[in-house]
């Protein structure tokens, strides 16, 4: 239950900038996810917050007090690691009680806290088991209990569920969210799994190449990715090369509505979500003719791949109620897209609803 300020934090390994001038604030009881591909510096950032890596420059403050100079055992943080986290020679009870014992608490207090924390992760009755006698999911729940029992100000999680299977991962994710809400603990969760980040986080920090690309609410990140990297990394996206000249936006042989302020350039990228391409009746003005190459049933919706002459292959999501078959010719209308130019924030284009009817 605390606020964390990351101020101009940089970490350099040799001549590699693992984290480059990161700066953000995690609010009290907020659940922040740091999301990025492997090697983007997200784990290094988390390890600096935990105290396992010393920053090259910058500062970290918890509730306004700098912790940068403190070793991990003196920081009010607790970390859940990716795997091999439980001490194999200790029982579940001993694993959880270890940190409490170091704090010189009485046996009765330790007993109570261990039992409470095990109840919290739904593992009451597992006190005498050894880690080798637990499943992977149970082990990570014990690791979570071991971190939480110390009542840290900030809970740090380094891809804690990445070595578990998909179903278990989703279940533990829900459980973690429930526990975090109940304890109102400030949490920072590192992951490369965007679904995990989108479903867990109050805010997501997307990282790439040591830089923080964008920090926002999950829905904003999805709807308004501020950089091309975020646009490509989060969710499915059609990225199309385009050019602009004299206020006209050209995509292959097609013209698109160009917003004001667009500069003449041949280095423009248009980002188009698959759900923002609508199948419209033939003859709709500005619609693109396309041929359906592939139809994939994805449960509650269908993903189709269409070939648009002069543009290329596009992903489109359609509802189950719509009958589309491979080889069909359809008309597509982009109803919303983002235009990226010169590393600047994207320009959003929404086709007025009237144009659809």
């Amino acid at each position: 239950m605390a606020r964390l300020d990351i101020i101009h934090l940089t970490k350099q390994f040799g001549n590699v900038l693992a984290v480059n001038d990161a700066g953000f604030t995690v609010q009290d009881s907020e659940f922040m996810c740091i999301l990025g591909p492997s090697g983007c510096g997200k784990s290094t950032l988390l390890r600096m917050i935990a105290g396992f890596e010393a920053p090259t420059s910058g500062d970290m403050q918890i509730d306004g007090e700098s912790v940068t100079a403190l070793p991990p055992n003196k920081r009010p943080t607790a970390m859940v690691f990716q795997k091999y986290t439980l001490w194999p020679h200790m029982t579940v009870y001993e694993n959880i009680a270890f940190g409490l014992g170091l704090r010189g608490l009485s046996r009765a207090v330790i007993d109570q806290k261990v039992h409470d924390s095990l109840a919290l992760v739904s593992l009451s009755g597992y006190e005498t088991r050894y880690p080798a006698q637990l499943s992977g999911g149970q082990q990570q729940r014990v690791a979570l209990a071991r971190a939480i029992v110390l009542e840290p100000k900030i809970l740090l999680l380094d891809e804690p569920f990445s070595s578990l299977d998909a179903i278990l991962r989703v279940r533990l994710r829900e459980e973690l969210k429930r526990i975090q809400r109940r304890l109102k603990i400030t949490a920072i969760f590192v992951t490369h799994d965007q679904e995990e980040a989108l479903s867990l986080a109050d805010r997501i920090a997307v990282m790439s190449g040591g830089q923080i690309e964008q920090i926002d609410h999950p829905s904003t990140i999805y709807a308004n990715p501020q950089t091309l990297f975020v646009a490509d990394f989060i969710g499915a996206m059609n990225l199309l090369k385009a050019s602009a000249q004299d206020g006209v936006l050209r995509l292959g042989g097609k013209q698109l509505t160009a917003p004001n302020g667009i500069q003449s350039s041949d280095k423009i990228t248009i980002a188009l979500r698959p759900e923002d391409l609508m199948i419209v009746p033939d003859g709709t003005p500005d619609a693109w003719k396309a041929q359906v190459d592939q139809v994939m049933d994805l449960g509650h919706y269908r993903k189709i791949l269409v070939d648009v002459p002069d543009v290329g292959e596009l992903k489109v999501y359609v509802t189950k109620s719509m009958t589309v078959n491979e080889g069909d010719r359809v008309s597509l209308l982009p109803i919303r897209y983002l235009i990226y130019q010169n590393d600047a924030a994207p320009i959003e284009v929404n086709r007025p609803a009237a144009a659809l009817t």
């Binding site: 070793p71 991990p72 055992n73 001490w87 194999p88 270890f98 940190g99």
Partner: protein, 296 residues
Amino acid sequence: MTTLQTSPPSSAWSRWRGAILAYVLVAPPLLLMVLLIFIPALQSIVRTLTIDVEGQSGFSFSRYVAFFNDPISVSNLVFTFQIVFLTLIIIFIVCFPLAIYLRFAQGRIAAAVQILVLFPLFVPGIILCYALIRFLGTRGTLDTVLSIFGVTEYRTPYLKPDAIIIGLVWESIPFTVLVLTAGLRQISDSLIESARDVGAGDWTIFRRIILPLITRPVLIAFSLNFLGIFGSYTVPYLLGPAAPQMMGVFMQQTFGQYRRPDDAETQAVITFLICSLVGLLYVRTVASQRIQQEDE
């Protein structure tokens, strides 16, 4: 079902062939062990327990009674134990920090330390002994250097028990550090980091996390070093005092100089029995590791 019952006869044959091949491969070393170690050892043990009275041979502990009633024999046995345990204690005091350093340190200095640690492995014992005599002896290198700095009361450990311990520790460092480092590498970083994370300092981490997780490598290093040191000959012979003697030197002298092969044989059997107890500890440690690995 029928296909199962008439499973190809070749599978049974190939199983047989595999078994035969295994026995053939195991046979030569097994035969050598039986012919050169087990049978002579058994013969020795039987001989030391036999007594000839007027042409009649009978069972007797008399040779062992004689050994344990002889003050020199007993003092040599006690001396051997003292040297073994002191040496082992010093080996672990020296090797633990080295192994921990090599497990966690990176870079050029660590690589250099690694080479230095392994160096004694490539120096034959006899060369080591003469090098130590030149270095530690009266008017040796150390004495000379100390006298330059005005220290004139240097008393050489040469021909004292201390010299044996120095030689044996030097010889045992590479193997011990290798075994301990290998054990330490099995402990993943996150186990140590999570201990630090919940508040443990270096000493607590060593005592409560690292030490319990490397009991097996420690037992292996302990038992193999014990065997090597208990039966050592060159180092105590060249560097140690004339009396008391370690069992290896004592046996050789009883056999070669005093020409009492019977007594030497008794000393050998006693040494053998003590060492086989420690050998048993080693075998049990390794076997429990195998079982655990198969479980995983």
